[in-house]
């Protein structure tokens, strides 16, 4: 019995640093932030701090910029299925014997390792409305008025989605590569013997088999999409005219430019609620298309 207690104590001691870390750097700030949402904390030090009840939440309901950021964030989510889809296609291609396979795998994965800000600046050069190679190519192909890309309220978000897809595709590809090698050969052969064509093997064997991983990538990708910051901040700063403003940028701007910490916490809580709802939606939706052994 004594030995058991000593073992338990040792266990607690091992996890203690982690518990302290999580408490100090995560739980306390989380609760603090939740409390702040009901105050009018202003300035760096919280001068004239007052409890204001649900005032910040009421303000949120009529805050056009907040709702625009929500809409933008949902639109920005589009890059998640895109990067999962493209990641799957690239992984399928590179799962065969192709020339320079390892080099290609590394080059597709590389963007995931590069700083989001560096990626942003590189793409800014590519999408430069007048001197960028993309528009120069379009002009040489006869397009008279090529898009202004990041300078246009219409095209800025699609451009950001293209960049985000390119950036996150490599991670998805690596995960798919690992799981594609796990798909049992005999299942594919059985389907072929039954007369399935290549695309039918993919549709009815490979995709169901890898569906738990696809689900995992979609959930993680969605969460990350709602938390994105660096690349968009570097590329557009949320502009032009807030057309690429997403919730984390709005939280940052409200907290550290306007010093409205209370209101920023309210937006952060709404961000948490939205991520939670999307995750629950995906969780319930998975029953229809995810297959577990």
């Amino acid at each position: 019995m004594k030995w058991m207690k000593r073992q338990q104590l040792a266990g607690y001691l091992f996890v203690l640093p982690s518990i302290i870390g999580v408490t100090v750097f995560f739980l306390i700030p989380l609760l603090f932030s939740f409390g702040l949402a009901f105050t009018n904390w202003l300035g760096p030090t919280g001068r004239d701090l007052r409890f204001v009840g649900l005032t910040n939440f009421r303000r949120l309901l009529f805050d056009g910029i907040f709702w625009k950021a929500v809409r933008n964030n949902v639109f920005y989510l589009l890059h998640v299925p895109l990067s999962v889809g493209v990641g799957f296609l690239v992984a399928s291609g590179l799962n065969r014997r192709v020339f320079f396979r390892n080099g290609l795998r590394a080059s597709f994965f590389l963007p995931y390792l590069i700083s989001a800000v560096a990626i942003g600046f590189s793409w800014m050069l590519l999408f430069h409305p007048t001197q960028g190679p993309i528009n120069q190519l379009l002009v040489s192909l006869g397009v008279r008025n090529p898009p202004l890309w990041l300078a246009s309220t219409k095209y800025a978000m699609p451009t950001v989605i293209i960049i985000a897809t390119w950036q996150s595709m490599g991670f998805n590809m690596i995960i798919f590569l690992a799981v594609l090698q796990e798909v049992p050969r005999h299942l594919k052969e059985a389907a072929q013997i039954d007369g399935a064509k290549s695309w039918q093997v993919v549709r009815y064997v490979t995709l169901p088999y890898i569906s738990p991983i696809t689900f995992f990538l979609l959930v993680i990708g969605t969460m990350n999409a709602f938390k994105s910051f660096g690349m968009i901040q570097a590329v557009t700063g949320g502009g032009p005219v807030n057309s690429t403003l997403i919730l984390p940028l709005y939280v940052y701007r409200t907290a550290f430019r306007y010093y409205e910490m209370g209101y920023a916490s309210t937006i952060a809580i709404m961000l948490f609620v939205i991520i939670f709802l999307f995750t629950m939606l995906q969780w319930y939706g998975q029953r229809r298309w995810v297959y577990y052994d």
Partner: protein, 421 residues
């Protein structure tokens, strides 16, 4: 044995005496940390070194922070955590006000009041007044002016203007229109909200009844004029293109591609550098345009130095600030900064700001801009309002909404903001 003991005692006494002497000497030297956003090599380091050489008992170390959102956030955190900051230079009135209201900066009332400011700095100092007090001493006149390519004027036979209204600016830009220049006029994209600030220069952002003044007729006139310059006359870069391409209008002006460039003294460092930016034309100057019947924008008085509330040495910090504003600033003149303090040799500093290339300027017109009368401080709204104004006028200049919708949206947002305060 006794000899050895007495030797050890003497040694101990000597060591203790030396240590105490050292401590007493060290205790007389005060070390101050001075944080500012000006790059050290543009003058602050030279100023600090000059001070340190002349004042061995008050040693100052210059710490440069980057004057952007992240840099200002870092400064605030440093002051909040009681980090080593004794003297702080603020560059934006909005950030400065937050610091005052948060209790980071000492009230300078005993040293600086309205009379002091009126006698030594001028009306521009009002920008740094919070309530009825000052918490900083501005040190630099950041002159604002339009730089003119004299060749462009000479080839059209147009005299260098001494003053311009907003509508005259448009007329002039059209007269200067030529195939030789890509644009007749340009300004830095980040300063586009200046049109609205200028429009309410005499009346302020808030009317007497406490509502938004953004529906003032000048706001409409100003925005329509600049829209016309961009889209109808095509003599000015379209804002969206300028922003998205990071169009270097200052460089284009120095390359002779733009005839008039609205900027300020901060661009003189570039125009002085004839090696990197060689040019054959002379640059003349004219003050920023003003609305007919209204004041013109006064030069910015900035780089405001404060004593940080947590410093242990407020008197020594003030001693340094007082010296820096009057004498130390001369080290910054070659970098384009003219001291704001009346006791400083301002005329000498004005020569220094163009010393590397004085032959290439119309100095008479430069002096005129510094001495321009009938000017007033540009009013600055809080960041929330400023950002919203930027967003709405950007939409208007993109052609995505009418002038009526632009003004209506700005007024509504501003009134909502005022009601919340």
């Amino acid at each position: 044995m006794r000899g050895r003991r007495s030797f050890l005692v003497s040694l101990a006494v000597l060591v203790i005496s030396i240590s105490l002497a050292g401590i007493s000497y060290a205790s007389e030297v005060v070390y101050l940390k001075f944080w500012g956003g000006v790059p050290a090599e543009n003058g602050p380091q030279a100023a600090v070194e000059a001070w340190n050489a002349a004042n061995p008992h008050i040693q100052v170390e210059y710490v440069r922070y980057v004057n952007n959102e992240d840099g200002n956030l870092r400064v605030n955190m440093a002051m909040q955590t009681g980090d080593d900051v004794d003297i702080l230079m603020s560059h934006s009135a909005n950030d400065y006000e937050q610091r005052v209201l948060s209790g980071f900066l000492l009230d300078l009332t005993d040293r600086v009041d309205d009379d002091y400011m009126a006698a030594n700095i001028g009306s521009g100092a009002l920008r740094w007044r919070v309530g009825d007090k000052y918490y900083a001493l501005p040190t630099n006149i950041n002159a604002i002016f339009i730089m003119l390519n004299e060749d462009a004027f000479a080839s059209k036979g147009i005299a260098i203007p001494e003053r311009l209204t907003v509508s005259q600016l448009r007329t002039l830009a059209n007269e200067l229109k030529s195939d030789e220049y890509e644009y007749a006029f340009a300004l830095d994209a980040g300063n586009i909200h200046g049109i609205v600030q200028n429009a309410v220069i005499d009346t302020g952002f808030v009317k007497e009844d406490g509502t938004s003044n953004l529906d003032h007729p000048n706001v409409r006139e100003g925005l329509e004029t600049y829209y016309g310059l961009m889209h109808e006359d095509k003599v000015m870069p379209v804002l969206a293109i300028q922003k998205a391409t990071n169009m270097a209008v200052e460089q284009m002006f120095l390359e002779g591609k733009i005839a008039m460039y609205q900027a300020g003294a901060w661009r003189l460092r570039m125009s002085n550098d004839l090696k990197q930016y060689p040019r054959s034309f002379k640059i003349a100057f004219v003050p920023y345009p003003h609305f007919d019947g209204y004041s013109g924008p006064a030069h910015h008085v900035e780089d405001a130095m404060s004593i940080v509330a947590t410093t242990r040495f407020p008197d020594q910090a003030w001693e340094f600030i007082d010296w820096y504003a009057q004498e130390g600033m001369m080290a910054l003149a070659p970098g384009g900064r003219v001291p704001a303090h009346a006791s400083a040799p301002q005329a000498e500093a004005r020569k220094l700001i163009v010393q590397a290339a004085e032959e290439t300027y119309n100095l008479e017109s430069l002096d005129r801009t510094y001495e321009a009368g009938d000017t007033k401080l540009l009013p600055t709204p809080p960041y929330q309002v400023l950002d919203y104004i930027n967003q709405e006028i950007e939409k208007y200049f993109l052609g995505e909404q009418s002038i009526d919708a632009t003004i209506a949206n700005m007024v509504k947002f501003h009134n909502d903001f005022l009601n919340r305060q």
